[in-house]
């Protein structure tokens, strides 16, 4: 018996087990089990209540979003990507000095073994309904001086209000971004910044109407802070 499940660092998740049928039809079982917490088929859901009650990010475009090697590794050793969960108000509480993350409401993502992680990651990479969005982007990854990039990220564009660009600095409501480059496909980063609602109609991220140069500058900053050291030059 092997334990499998979905993605989404902050999701409220329940471990399921796949029986012998898994071997017979792995994609169907992966699809079914991930769907406990994740939207596994399109179209995009614009319903506000659905956004407030969902347990993890949609995965039906996972193959347009994630890097396969990250998925495979993360599933075996999942960490929380979204400090305050997938829907922040559901995972915050009011304390004496203001709202704080209510850790008691957050659940860890189940761990899967290496074979299952490989199988799930490979399947998720086949889910690519938004390829046309990625094909609109013409982005050649570059670099930006870290200090300049940080200033742009925090001061000029305000991204640090919700996102962390280091483990210690930044807001709690958005997914951590110091690991974004390892996690996400570069064209996805660019496309999502350009128009979050094109991917998720009820995205909690604003569309800042940045021009292409501004978007690429942010993506380059994510590369600068997130690229694995062995790949850095």
């Amino acid at each position: 018996m092997r334990t499998v499940i979905a993605l989404g660092g902050a999701a409220l998740l329940t471990a399921l087990s796949i029986g012998s049928a898994a071997a017979a039809d792995p994609p169907a079982n992966i699809q079914k089990d991930c769907a406990v917490c994740h939207q596994m088929s399109g179209p995009a859901n614009a319903d506000l209540t659905a956004r407030q009650t969902r347990k993890g990010p949609p995965l039906y475009f996972a193959g347009n979003k994630f890097r396969q090697d990250w998925l495979e590794a993360w599933l075996q050793k999942p960490t929380r990507v979204r400090p305050a969960g997938d829907f922040v108000p559901a995972h915050t509480a009011t304390g004496p000095e203001g709202d704080v993350v209510d850790a008691a409401t957050l659940s860890d993502h189940p761990v899967v073994d290496a074979a299952a992680a490989k199988e799930i990651a490979a399947y998720l990479m086949t889910l690519t309904p938004n390829t046309a969005l990625l094909e609109k982007e013409d982005y050649t990854p570059g670099r930006v001086p870290a200090r300049m990039g940080a200033m742009d990220f925090v001061k000029f564009k305000g991204c640090g209000g919700c996102h962390k660009d280091t483990p210690k600095y930044g807001g709690f409501s958005g997914p951590e971004l110091y690991t974004a480059w390892q996690r996400l496909q570069p064209p996805f980063i660019v496309s999502y910044i350009r128009d979050p609602a094109a991917w998720e109609p009820r995205s909690l991220m604003p569309n800042k109407h940045l021009n292409t140069a501004g978007i690429h500058k942010l993506a380059n900053y994510l590369r600068t802070i997130g690229e694995k050291p062995e790949k850095a030059k």
């Binding site: 009011t94 203001g98 709202d99 001061k155 209000g161 800042k208 109407h209």
Partner: protein, 121 residues
Amino acid sequence: MKKLLILAAFLCGSIVYPLPAPAADAAHGKALYRTYCTQCHGLSGDGKGVNAKQLSVQPRNHQDRAEMSARTDADLFKAIKEGGQAVNKSILMPNWDGNMTDDEIHDVVAYLRELCCAGAK
């Protein structure tokens, strides 16, 4: 009569943001506020959201009757739709026009009026 109609059309066209429609739905505005606004402005609207401590400019306390009364509905609509910079405030308040329709922003404004000023403070 024709001149009056032209004048009326001109005046309407000159209004950037109309006042909230009478049908503005404060209850829906509350749901939208919870979704998009509380991360910075707080679950109770007190300006102490989960992100607030990380922000160099503190979010507006929407329970502050005096502060909120000094803003027109059109001001609030513009700040939400176009962001803080559009009303000479912080860039940390983003534009939400990509997330909410104009009608939905009117609903949020209606809820803000309840939040700040419905009770005795």
